[in-house]
Subunit: 68 residues, 6 copies
């Protein structure tokens, strides 16, 4: 430990994921006194049809935004 | 919060997922006094080869059911 | 399955949790054609010092609200 | 319950997953006195670009290993 | 990885947890060709009021069983 | 989203958790172009008897370290 799960909207490329893993690892090391090799991070890409907020499917929010 | 993770067998279409997100959000709002925009739901589609019950892989259960 | 994890702010009593489990189970059964005994729900009570939004600890938000 | 989530590097075939589900279920039954049908296991296949350790993306570790 | 989360009913003592960690680690190593130090396991003790099955709170199931 | 779960060894005080939430939120915002209020973080404090690595319970590792 620390073991981290980050759920984020599908679509980030490897460059963004590389930066995310590096920066979050540093942030954790600076805050709770652990060394980097202790930190493991798992990213969960979430498709819009698998995400809901305010009772509405992310897929549907995207569809509305496309029409506007 | 509330933050909800629902793991369910792969294969539900968007219509079912739409209803799931809407109905679960309402159920939560009615039970623990939060407003809908506070509720976030993440659906995890689980493939049959990634699910086990009673020590048996879901994939194998499906294969047996196909033969019967 | 379905297997559900609901993370919610610490402090709901058993009556609210009873209603939450019942209503969420019904919502799931109505949406994705499963019977109630297939649905398992785990509630995760989250203390304010273990929750952060907008970079701020829930504990600190509560403290500010107490003073206002 | 018990409900188990196992996150592992993407790429194991069904034969390995079959053995994993069987052996982990037995291990749990032998340790905490439950019967097999109570045990549910969800496997999460993690792609190398969705995994980080020591601040480095698994994808990049693989690339370096390919060159060596 | 592998990273394992095991949710189980509250109440197991350290001896059972010790056996659980040891046996599950061995089961994983035997199945997916990893060495033991790669395997991390987190146990989540679930109180009966935080668990629901078939729409009923575990706490209430226990109460009924006590009366019988 | 992003929704983050951080599992860490029990024992960090609020000051460390405050810094952790702030720094991890900033790290995420800088990496995947989201604004801070979109980021929710849940910290899971893990007791040594609920953590295993290399098949050994964290509790037992602590006991050995105390004797040395």
């Amino acid at each position: 430990m620390p073991i981290v799960h980050i759920h984020l909207k599908h679509g980030r490329n490897n460059e963004k994921k590389r930066m995310l893993v590096e920066k979050v690892t540093n942030a954790i090391c600076e805050s709770v006194d652990v060394t980097a090799e202790k930190v493991q991070i798992i990213l969960h890409d979430v498709m819009p049809e698998n995400y809901g907020k305010s009772g509405v499917l992310g897929f549907d929010v995207n569809e509305i935004e496309k029409k506007n």
